[in-house]
């Protein structure tokens, strides 16, 4: 039993899962209430700008999850333990969910801001490529029927697909883009102090919520793998 399995067992045995899910739910609800009722409306874009407090945390959640897939895939190829493969697949699913939310909330914001739901802008196109890459990753896992060869191929794809993440991040700097770069590291992002505070609250609560979802998905993946192992041993006996 790996260290991650022991941690998972302790997490559920101590009923920390109920506490974590409740905290995550209340956190996001609190964050949403702050976004809608206690954050000033943008003087230029109006109320539609508020979607930004959901759009950005989803994007950061997706990038973090894909970085996790990258690390877990390397670990799987290095030590060939199922636990890393399960972790990579769980992270990829959470990442794709976050990336899908980015691709849904983006066009909703783009229509009133730019006058079109979609433009083939560098940031938008590279994000779409990222989503397609990781949907392909999940399809590969599904179609390879969890064979050892399929797991290895998925790990290689998980490493290669991550190369798109820095491209998405840097696309607004490398090429001309109409997409705003809020986290550029430069002073003057155009956000007032209450807006920045709301952004941080939203970021932390959404990331915590995604982490809780990841633990749930990982627990399910581990249960499936353990059952598969027992079934294989039964067939041998």
């Amino acid at each position: 039993m790996s260290m991650l399995d022991k941690m998972l067992e302790r997490y559920y045995a101590s009923r920390l899962n109920t506490l974590a899910v409740t905290a995550a739910c209340l956190g996001v609800l609190g964050g949403l209430i702050r976004i809608f009722w206690f954050t000033p409306i943008d003087s230029y874009q109006g109320v539609v700008q508020k979607i930004f407090y959901i759009h950005l945390p989803c994007a950061i959640g997706a990038f973090t999850a894909f970085f996790g897939v990258f690390v877990a895939s390397i670990a799987f190829l290095a030590v060939r333990k199922d636990v890393f493969d399960d972790l990579a697949s769980s992270l990829a699913e959470v990442g794709v969910a976050c990336c899908s939310l980015v691709l849904i909330t983006g066009p909703i914001w783009a229509k009133p801001a730019w006058g079109a739901y979609w433009t083939w802008d560098n940031r938008l196109t590279t994000t779409l490529i990222l989503w397609v890459l990781y949907v392909g990753y999940l399809l590969l896992r599904h179609l390879s029927l969890e064979s050892e060869q399929g797991k290895r191929a998925a790990a290689v794809l998980g490493i290669i697909a991550f190369l798109d993440v820095p491209i998405v991040r840097m696309s607004v700097k490398w090429w001309r883009s109409i997409h705003p770069s809020v986290l550029s590291g430069q002073k003057g992002t155009g956000l007032d102090r209450p807006m920045v505070e709301t952004l941080w609250i939203s970021l932390l609560t959404f990331l915590f919520f995604f982490a809780v979802l990841l633990v749930e998905r990982f627990a399910l993946a581990r249960a499936k793998t353990l059952l598969k192992k027992v079934r294989m041993q039964m067939e041998v006996c």
Binding site: V28, L29, A219, R222, A223, Q233
Partner: protein, 52 residues
């Protein structure tokens, strides 16, 4: 707009209820799988080795 926002928050609340239910079911599933794995490990370790 207020109604839309309220509907959106209710949707989130529903989603959270679902995640909470999913989590308790996951805990139960993991507990049962652990019992099965432990039982099987004990059974295998107690059973005599097969004759060649």
């Amino acid at each position: 707009m207020e109604y839309l926002t309220a509907a959106y928050l209710v949707l989130w609340a529903g989603l959270f209820g679902y995640v909470l239910r999913l989590s308790s079911k996951n805990a139960e599933l993991l507990r049962n799988v652990r019992i099965l794995v432990d039982f099987w490990d004990t059974k295998v370790s107690e059973s005599p080795p097969k004759k060649p």
